[in-house]
Every structure is written in structure tokens, then in C-alpha cells.
Symmetry: C2
Subunit: 329 residues, 2 copies
Amino acid sequence: MTTFTFEHVYIEAYSAIGGKKEKEGPCGDDFDGYSEDIYFHAKSFELAEQQMVKESIALTLKKAQLHLPKLAIGGDLIHQNGTSSYVAQTLHAPFIGVYGACSTSALSIGTAALLVENENIDHVLAFTSSHTEASERQFRYPNEYGGQKKETSTVTVTAAGSLLLTKKYHPLKVTSFTIGEVIDWEFKDPNDMGKAMVPAAYQTLMTHFFDTKRTFDDYDLIVTGDLGKIGYAMMAELVELQRFQLEGKLNDCGIMIYDLNHQDVFCGGSGCGCSMSVLCSKLLKKLEKKEMKRILFIATGCLHNVLSIQQKQSIPVIAHAICIERSSS
Amino acid sequence: MTTFTFEHVYIEAYSAIGGKKEKEGPCGDDFDGYSEDIYFHAKSFELAEQQMVKESIALTLKKAQLHLPKLAIGGDLIHQNGTSSYVAQTLHAPFIGVYGACSTSALSIGTAALLVENENIDHVLAFTSSHTEASERQFRYPNEYGGQKKETSTVTVTAAGSLLLTKKYHPLKVTSFTIGEVIDWEFKDPNDMGKAMVPAAYQTLMTHFFDTKRTFDDYDLIVTGDLGKIGYAMMAELVELQRFQLEGKLNDCGIMIYDLNHQDVFCGGSGCGCSMSVLCSKLLKKLEKKEMKRILFIATGCLHNVLSIQQKQSIPVIAHAICIERSSS
């Protein structure tokens, strides 16, 4: 059993902040803020990412009429969780750093939910982020190099999201957390991460169905993040082989964040900030507006690093899932 | 309140594996294994670190007569938690990646304890590691460069440790977890990390005392990891200013791991593997042998990265504490 269920974990507040490209995408209208400036008026891309996270956290806390959180959980793509660590020092709260690459969104929310459900604590803040230029120069080439991308590539999303989970009743709740296993299927192409992560997303989905005795019928939407166009197609095929009827119930945050026909984004978006900002903008708002009742949010991550790729190691992948639904009372 | 207490979290098994230098140090006799070869018969330092962790986990599981864990929590110093992610893919178990630099030892154990205490799960594995050459080339200079060290430096310990926590009665138990705050005191010298981390260790100790209404009198040992010689002296001074009587009750894993008079280690040891291997060798064995009844293990971490130092940011620091004691029944 790798799915933990919750009775008393509500979403008190949330927010998403993005870059210009993300603002122009299909989720842009549901963002709480954005910056035309890729530097977010900071001196470096890394500081820009920190600034973006700080703005999201400040907004989320403001919506909950709080000044500081009681406890915070976060992670990101920068070496040694750089963004989260530097942001955390402004929070003056106990901090748990987590790392799951792009699955950090569901990992931080799920870990926060475990604490809210079980411990005597008012609320826990979960946050994550990514910045396209900061990631680019860390995982790939210097920004000035302008290296060509493969068609299978995704664009790291410039966005940050944060949620405040609490025991007190609110319209939306987190009802389960399925912790994923790290999978190695000997896949080695870091320019095709969507494909790399499909087995992890699929296994976590099946584990979730097995543990909860649910199927697609129990959900209005099952949304992965971030498989992108190619990964999504593979995932849909695997799911259909199980004779599940999709009926538009499967989607992917890497596809939802951008307009793939009109924005120059290859296979779509990726990065911790991608799934987190889609969740904290379009998805949670659709649940609030009663356009959906229950969703399964499966965030996927590639756990390689620059050195492991240089040393020709395969890419370990993981996916964590959280179930979010409208409270019944 | 940032201290969570546990009633039913026991240590079923544990092990520590080290390198040659660590084997020759004061904890060496209590290690479960070591390698004369800094490569651990692998092709790179990074693979060596993975090999070391795998050996520790295999031993810990063997002691508990298990083949695989039910759930695992781990982290390390390599970019994007590289070691832990690659090790986790051999565990075939749900995995939570955590990051707290050298505080990852207490962070992984504490997070595992939260799950064992609260959830319907037989056991949870916690592990962490560091490798001196892998860290050296990632955080500092290429190994071949042979850059000179400052006297305030510490040596990254080559060691891995793992523990299996369970609900079932065993002689040793984890009874609390104090989650630390990230502190910035504008300290910027990455060659003096012991000093950098003192405020975090001190704050977490005081928070623990405040939350639990305990003092030094309630512990046989309060052990930080890893402040090293200079950091330890500062910590002792701060503690004595509070009029606590130390009476040999304060020590530091960075000092305990090496013979500072005879091994060439500057201010002592550091790295995730330092505090974890001291805990999983000398400290837990002393508790088992009834030489001590209760200890507070405060693992400290510097949360900077190479880029943040290049960009002249200060070093964020954190310390997490766990209380370990002999079971009374």
C-alpha cells in the first residue's frame, strides 16, 4: 500500500505566478500575477526564480490572512534545492526540503497533507517553482550558446505555485497521496523527458487505482505533469490498452500550460513550476467553479543530473499522485 | 511548536559503511563495512557513492530479514539528489527524496518517523551518504587541481548510513523530531561551514528545549553534525552562556568521525554521510550497550550551491534534531 488517505486536509489558499510566455498561454488568465521581465527585476535568473516564489507565497499567505506560515515544504530544480532554500530563509518557519524534479509539486503537497492530517499543526505551506533560463544553463548549455532543440524537447516553464493546507473546512480538499517508485527503464535521452516519464506516470496511476479500488469513472480528470505531446500520446495509448474509456478525462500539464499550435514550445512545458502553476491556476479554479468534482494530479519527474548523463547513466523517473476534490459538506 | 513527538517508532536495524580514512578513525571499529578502494570498485566517484549506499541498505535490510523496504526516504549532496535517486531505483519501493545538505541524516530519519508513527505502514527506510571526491569536484574544484584548503575547512566524509524504523518494539526508539528553520546570518565563506551552521544548531537546540520543556540534564549526549572543531567551540560557548553545565555532554560528529590529532582533516568531517555514519556506528551502539540512555542528534546543513556562492549570496543554514533513546519496557 503506497496510497495514504486524508479526512481533514483542506486547501485554504493558493496562487500561481508566471512569466510572460506562460501568461500568454491557456492558463494565463487564471494566474495571480506575472512579469514581462524574465529577470523579475532581479540581478540573475536564479534570483528571478526566488523572487517569483516569494511573490506566490506572499499572495497565498495574504489570501489566508497570514503573515508567515507555521511550516513549509518545498523543492525545485536548481542544484541543492537552491531556490527553495533561499526562499525558505525568508519564511521564519520550520522547513522540509524535498526533491522529486518536476514531481516536486505533488511531493510537496502530499508531504504537507501527511503533516496536516496527522499532526497538531494549523497549516502547512507547499511550494515549488522553475525558471526556464535558470534551468537551461544548469541542465543544458550556457544561455548565450543558443543550442538547437530536438522536436522531442520541452520548454522549462517559468512559474511558481504555492498552496496552504489546513485542517479547517474549505471548499477544496486533498484526499489522498500515492507515493511513486523510482523506475529505471534504461531510457537515456535527456532531450525526450516526456517519453522517459511515461512508465512512472502509468505505474503510479495503476497503483493508485489498485490501492483505492477506483477507476477512471471516479474522476473528472486525470492530469499528468509533464509528459508533453509525445509522452501524453504514449500514456493515452497505455491507458486505452487497459480498456479504460478516456472520454477526454486524461490531460497533461505540459500540454495545458502553452498553446502548442501557436507558441514555440516543441512538445510542451516541463519543470516543477509547470504542473504546480497549472494546478494552482486553471485546475483548482475549475474545481472551485464546480466544473469538476474530483481530479487525480500525477506529477512526474526525471531524477537525472548533468553528471549522470555525462557518465552515460540512464534516467531514473518517478511520479507522485494526489487526489483533490470538492468537499461534500 | 515545531517538535513532533512519537510513541511507537523503533529502530529495527541500521548500518554504516565507510571509506578507508573513516575506517581508521575513532568510529571505524563500529562500522559494518568499508572499502580500501575510494572507488568502491565502481567506475566513478559518483557510482562509488551509490555502491556504498546500496551496501549499507542491503546490510540494514538483511539485519531485519527483509529483501526490500516498504517505503524509503533519502537524500544526499550530489546535484538533484543524484545518489539517492539512482539508489532508489533498485529498491522497488515508494520513495520520498528529501534535501537538507548535511542535515539530511536527521531529516530523512525524522520524516520516516512521522510516517511510521502515523500511518499504517510496517516500516520505513531512511538513508543518506556522501563521498569526499564526488563532493570535492562538485562543490569545489576538479579533483586533479589539488587546491589548497583553509584551516577552517572540513573534509567531506566518505560514508553511508541507513536505518529501518518500525512500529514493532525494539530496544532503541526515535521519540521526537524538531524541524529546523532556514537561517541567514549573512555568512558567506564556504570554506568555513562549521562556523556558518552554529546559529542553526543553536536555534534548533533551544527550540527543542522550549518545545519539550527539557534541558541538558535530560540528555546523556547532545551531538551536533557537523560543526567541526571551530564550530563546536562556538557552539559550546553559546551553550555555556545559557548557564547550561556541559559536563562532557556536548559533542560533534565532525569531530568524532576522525582523529583530529593524527588524521589530516583540518577542522574535522562534514557531509551527509558524516553525522549519519557516526549515528549508525558509535552512537547507536553506545545506546544499545546501555552506556547512554537518551541522546539528541542535531544534524546541520549548509544549503548553498556552487552558483549561489559565485553570485555572492550568503549561505542559508538549517539544523534538524531527532531524539533517540533506549525503550523503557
